[in-house]
């Protein structure tokens, strides 16, 4: 018996998300009196693989195959399923990001395992296996019982703490025979080196109250000074004021930074659906009755164009820049 966690890598490196998942899977394994096994797919060197042991993974399995170079949902599912079966995994932990959303449901059918997507914290109980999960786009939290012998849970980024519980993990290279992927990649358009909105701990976001695409300078500067990323509301990306990757909310990206600063955003439920997991929300809006203030812990009622430059100045002072 084991708890299996799939740890994705980015060009051979893990990131905080991978360590969150291992920390979580380790806790779940403790609840079940078993051990945590991490699975890595792709070309990751031993030193990097070993890092997963710092968060409690007792065994680290590494699969590398030409047929896993392209992200093909069928081959990835097959690889994870085989490892889950061979290690008698009772719980499989995956991220609730694009990769997890693509693979977890397929895995559910392949393993005949109940799936809970977007789980909030550790299981409430292991028998029956009950988890809390996001429902109604953040409007409620549901308690779901997973009734099958094997269970799959997917975890949103930034939703659990990274906890170090170093163990002497063994790294094992395994091989899995897979067919040629059916997915053929024709073209890749990637921006390298940019902080991903989903990874950012601090996000500064602008809405229609920013008034014009020309007013974004101080907002971007504030985000840069804070080491964060920029986001926006849907109308802003629809208008083409900002790139569509920044669109946050129910129909855009769902993020959970530690700090979300909303500037000139009214706080419509569909927007809040994408940011309600943030630890702290700050709102800057010239309308005191804007709904965004109902979910914010800090607020300034004022004109964004006047307030933003002053915030930039204050941060510069503090950071000595």
């Amino acid at each position: 018996m084991s708890v299996l966690v799939y740890t994705e890598n980015w060009d051979g490196k893990f990131k905080k998300l991978s360590f969150e998942l291992v920390s979580y899977a380790t806790r779940v394994a403790e609840m079940l009196n078993t051990s945590c096994i991490a699975l890595s797919i792709g070309n990751v060197d031993d030193a990097e693989l070993k890092k997963l042991g710092s968060y409690g993974a007792q065994k680290i399995l590494s699969v590398n195959s030409d047929n896993l170079k392209v992200f093909d949902t069928q081959n990835y599912t097959e690889a994870i399923a085989q490892v889950a079966k061979n290690n008698d995994a009772k719980v499989v932990v995956i991220s609730n990001n694009n990769v997890g959303k693509a693979v977890a449901p397929r895995l559910s059918v392949k393993l005949k395992a109940a799936l809970a997507a977007g789980v909030n914290g550790l299981p409430l109980s292991t028998n029956p296996f009950t988890v809390r999960k996001r429902a109604f786009s953040g409007g409620a939290i549901a308690h779901v019982v997973l009734k099958t012998d094997v269970k799959i849970v997917t975890l949103p980024q930034n939703s659990v703490d990274v906890t170090e519980t170093p163990v002497n993990a063994e790294v094992e290279k395994i091989s899995i025979s897979l067919p040629e992927p059916k997915t053929v990649v024709k073209d890749v358009q990637k921006q390298a080196g940019k902080l991903l909105l989903t990874d950012a701990e601090i996000v500064v976001s602008g809405g229609r109250g920013m008034k014009s695409p020309d007013n974004w300078g101080p907002l971007v500067e504030l985000a840069e000074l804070l080491g964060g990323a920029t986001a926006c509301s849907r109308p802003v990306s629809d208008e083409g004021w900002r790139p569509s990757e920044e669109h946050t909310g129910q129909t855009g990206k769902i993020i959970a930074p530690n700090l979300y600063i909303a500037v000139g955003i009214s706080g419509a439920t569909q927007h809040i659906a994408g940011v309600s997991g943030s630890k702290y929300i700050v709102a800057i809006n010239n309308d005191k009755s804007a709904p965004i203030f109902e979910v914010a812990q800090y607020g300034i009622v004022g004109d964004a164009q006047k307030v933003l430059p002053k915030l930039v100045e204050a941060v510069r002072e503090i950071k000595g820049k």
């Binding site: 980015w10 992200f71 093909d72 949902t73 069928q74 694009n98 959303k101 693509a102 977890a104 449901p105 559910s108 059918v109 109940a114 799936l115 997507a117 429902a135 109604f136 409007g139 409620a140 939290i141 549901a142 308690h143 779901v144 019982v145 009734k147 997917t154 059916k182 997915t183 053929v184 990649v185 024709k186 073209d187 890749v188 358009q189 990637k190 390298a192 940019k194 629809d238 569509s244 129910q250 129909t251 530690n258 700090l259 439920t269 659906a273 309600s276 630890k279 929300i281 700050v282 109902e294 812990q297 800090y298 607020g299 300034i300 004022g302 307030v307 002053k310 915030l311 204050a314 503090i318």
Partner: protein
């Protein structure tokens, strides 16, 4: 090419949900039901492809697993322009069950391209599309933000961390769509509403499938602490508060 759009029936996205029976059931009183926003966009894109004329799309159908109470949502999809509809007459609370039913529908009706949304706005399952593909043993592409048909081949743009990839797979395939697939949902015109009444809704009885999940209870999110206001003339105070109280700056 035959396209199937899987539609789920969800509370209007502005609904403030409430629960009854000891917080174990959704209080459906006063809820306005709509087509899940992603499915509305999928349908729009499917109809654009059919209207194009050069894509070889012969028909656009919709399928829904649900009780007769969700017929108005199906009629709406027909009014928007779907050619016909299929309803599997069963409660739709478990994604595995729903996907198994849809798999039966696809096996019988032989669709080439199946569109599902990335999530239903009610239970946020992010499940049905991928499960359906696995039941059928066919490829699925997720996080689809653009879909074209070129020389009979489905060409898909999907979102990956930090960018996009353009990919193809053989058909039949399931595309799990998200932002970008269509700009605005198509709205039913008067003529569409009239003709929708006469379009067929085929009824399927469910096949027996195990229920894997059970929703036993709901909580409302904890209200956040009241907002602390900082004077607009002195935004510096905000930065100081963030520094001392949240320790994030």
């Amino acid at each position: 090419m035959k396209i199937l759009v899987c539609i789920s029936n969800v509370p209007d996205t502005t609904t403030k949900v409430k629960f009854t029976e000891g917080d174990s059931k959704l209080d459906t009183n006063g809820i306005q039901w709509v087509i899940n926003p992603w499915d509305e966009l999928s349908l729009t894109r499917a109809l654009e492809l059919k209207d194009d004329g050069n894509t070889g799309v012969k028909s656009v159908s919709v399928a829904h697993v649900g009780l007769s109470s969700s017929e108005p949502t199906i009629r709406k999809a027909l009014a928007i322009g779907a050619d016909d509809a299929i309803r599997v007459n069963a409660d739709s609370s478990d994604a595995y069950f729903v996907a198994a039913q849809l798999a039966e529908v696809v096996r019988k009706e032989q669709f080439d391209l199946i569109l599902c949304g990335i999530e239903s706005s009610d239970y946020n399952g992010s499940s049905v599309g991928g499960m359906l593909a696995e039941f059928l043993g066919i490829p699925s592409i997720s996080a689809v933000s653009n879909l074209k048909i070129e020389n009979g081949q489905v060409v898909i743009t999907r979102e990956v961390d930090g960018g996009k990839e353009v990919v193809t797979t053989p058909t039949p395939l399931v595309a799990v769509v998200q932002k970008g697939i269509a700009k605005e949902p198509r709205i039913a015109a008067m003529r569409g509403i009239m003709t929708a009444r006469t379009k067929p809704i085929k009824l399927y009885e469910p096949v027996p499938v195990e229920i894997m999940t059970e929703y036993v209870k709901y909580e409302l999110p904890k209200p956040r602490a009241a907002c602390k206001f900082v004077d607009a003339e002195n935004p510096k105070q905000l930065i100081e508060l963030l520094q001392t109280e949240t320790k994030l700056i």
